[in-house]
Amino acid sequence: MADLFSNLGLGFSVALGLQNIALCFLGCLVGTLIGVLPGVGPIATIAMLLPITFGLDPVGALIMLAGIYYGAQYGGSTTAILVNIPGEATSVVTTLDGHQMARQGKAGIALGTAAIASFFAGTVATLLIAALGAPLTKLALIFGPAEYFALMVMGLAFAVVLAHGSVLKAVAMILVGVLFAAVGTDLETGQERMTFGFAFLTDGVDFSVLAMGLFGIAEILRNLDQTEARDVVRERIGRLLPGLAELRQAAPATLRGTAIGAILGILPGNGAVLGPFAAYTIEKKIAKDPSRFGRGAIEGVAGPESANNAGAQTAFIPLLTLGIPPNAVMALMVGAMTIHGIIPGPGVMTKSPDLFWGMIASMWIGNLMLLIINLPLVGVWVRLLKVPYRLMFPAILMFCSVGIYSINSLPTDVMLIGFFGLMGYLLIKFGFEPAPLLLGFVLGKLMEEYLRRSLTLSRGDPMVFLERPVSAVLFIIAFAILAAALLPSLRKSRDEVFTEA
């Protein structure tokens, strides 16, 4: 314990240096900005800013890049809540209830709850990294391909619960999502799958492209249809920050979300994407009145947002202690470290303790800054909703186009958001929800990889999924969730089976 405090003391003495504080602030600010802009993600931005950090000392550079990363998580929820566009896989869930809250004139409360829940989660996760970072890495090594496959199956079971309409339609959407994920070059054989010879499909469909289309563009099309729906958002602004009653309502969800997100974030196989989904599912399952979810339940914002931020933070554990990046942003951080002559891995903690602990301390400072940056901004964001929709949607459209183009510099990506926008519009018209599709897409790619890998390793024996205890438990949870989602609807009168979950 004394060790921990002296280490944290070292960390804060590094992170509170004038230059580092300024860099942390700059990182958080840029991160918030790119998070808010639809399409532009932290990956493109960190890549672009890497050369700028060349001139800095490594600690400052990494503090700034880390700031961009979690700043983007904060900013992403803003766009999800205000205009129903998830910037990243992890903010898909926030759109469900967050945007509904905004439509009911509670945008400020939703944004405030998201910020406070994220801050709480960030604080807990930082402490967790500081106290248990090294021992927790053992957990990472328990997870082999079979366990990850089970985890992904569990995630897909969550996706069924996510939907609030027909179960059958949700299942169909998940399958379509997994099917879309299969488009592109097959990882194992290098063969092209369902690309129809189009060069722009050889690497599959980018998540941002699918999300911008299905959510951003489709939402515009739908709003253009319904005159009455679009000005609901601007009707009343309401209070800007959550009150005590709302915070009390959100608190337990925040606690649970933090725990779930922190645990999943430790897994080096990008388990963090599951955090918000898992948190949402649990909140919906244990709620007294699950029907509130999808209609603006505050727990549906607090739970996933805290899980998201906790996961974003604990994702640094495999990077800092094993040297293994769990996702694309972390892979960039590896690059940033190596460029500065630091090879991430078990050695970092002992060889450059000022960097290791300085970064951890700066995470907490960064979270505090984000809270300070974001709470006053809530007022600005909410006022943005007052812009007439006839000016709002061309602006959204242009930001989406520029953002998507900036990811890969491919005009075809921009065209694809138009295609997926039309598809999303059709889906809405036929009563399908895009969120399960997106989740199926995110998990589908990973699921297939892990399935094939574990069967290769088991030499084709599917029993491997039940013989390994962790994997077996995860499968049982998945089936329990599915049964819980399906059974009540089966017991209802037959007419309702296909329309209510």
Binding site: V30, V40, A44, T45, M48, L49, I52, H164, G165, S166, L168, K169, V171, A172, L175, V176, V178, L179, A182, Q191, R193, M194, I217, I220, L221, L224, D225, R230, D231, Y389, R390, L391, F393, P394, L397, M398, S401, V402, Y405, S406, S409, P411, V414, M415, I417, G418, G421, L422, F430, G431, E433, L451, R452, L455, R459, D461, P462, V497, F498, T499
Partner: protein, 221 residues
């Protein structure tokens, strides 16, 4: 959005939920398409799963869901088909395509579009998109386009340093050696913002809004 169960109980005829039926048929179509699209791929074995196995079974799954939905369209009461409008989808698609083909040289068949950069592609997308709504006014959209494009140029090109073409390729070549790219970007953005401001002033002076617009649309209040 979930489909409300209203207005269908009075309907008689074989189809009781037209939305489900059409949605189901659509999914069956997608499933068949998926099977066809993946038919050239090897299924492999359990020991070494081929690239074709997952797409095949997923397509079957999608098709089965579609079948169940289509059947439900005959056996269960459900939502009617919703009305579609064409103006929005068509115009928005046009706007997106306009952006995509002008941002940088784009070759389609034998034709290559000139790369015009963000300074042209941005306003083009905004102004075309504006006409997807029924309340579009050119001056207003132009003002918006000038401000937003100038902002985007500074934000993406200058601050975030993203490799997005700002100016037409021809202009970049012509100005090589005359003006540094950054300076040119800032000058152009400043000029656009100024013109935008001018337009704003002009709009303010030339009376408020046309009375018809306000009367017809709740949004302009």
């Amino acid at each position: 959005m979930d489909a409300p169960l209203d207005g269908t109980s009075s309907r008689r005829g074989p189809v009781r939920a037209p939305q489900s039926l059409v949605a189901g048929l659509g999914l069956i179509g997608l499933g068949v398409f998926g099977i066809w699209a993946g038919s050239d791929l090897d299924y492999g074995s359990l020991r070494a799963i081929g690239p074709g196995l997952m797409p095949f079974w997923l397509s079957i799954g999608v098709g089965l869901c579609g079948l169940a939905l289509a059947i439900a369209g005959f056996t269960h009461d459900g939502a009617p088909l919703q009305s579609f409008t064409f103006r929005g989808p068509v115009v928005i698609t046009l706007a997106i395509i306009a952006f995509a083909v002008t941002i940088r040289p784009f070759a389609l068949g034998g034709i290559t579009t000139p790369g015009l950069g963000l300074i042209v592609a941005g306003p083009l997308a905004i102004i075309i998109a504006g006409y997807a709504g029924t309340e579009a006014r050119f001056i207003e959209l132009l003002t918006l386009a000038l401000f937003l494009t100038a902002g985007c140029m500074l934000l993406f090109g200058d601050m975030l340093n993203l490799p997005i073409p700002i100016f037409p390729t021809a202009v970049v070549q012509a100005m090589t050696g005359v003006l540094p790219a950054r300076t040119m970007l800032r000058l152009a953005a400043g000029a656009m913002a100024l013109v935008g401001l001018g337009l704003l002033v002009v709009q303010r002076r030339s009376g408020r809004r046309e009375p018809i617009e306000v009367a017809r649309h709740s949004l302009t209040t």
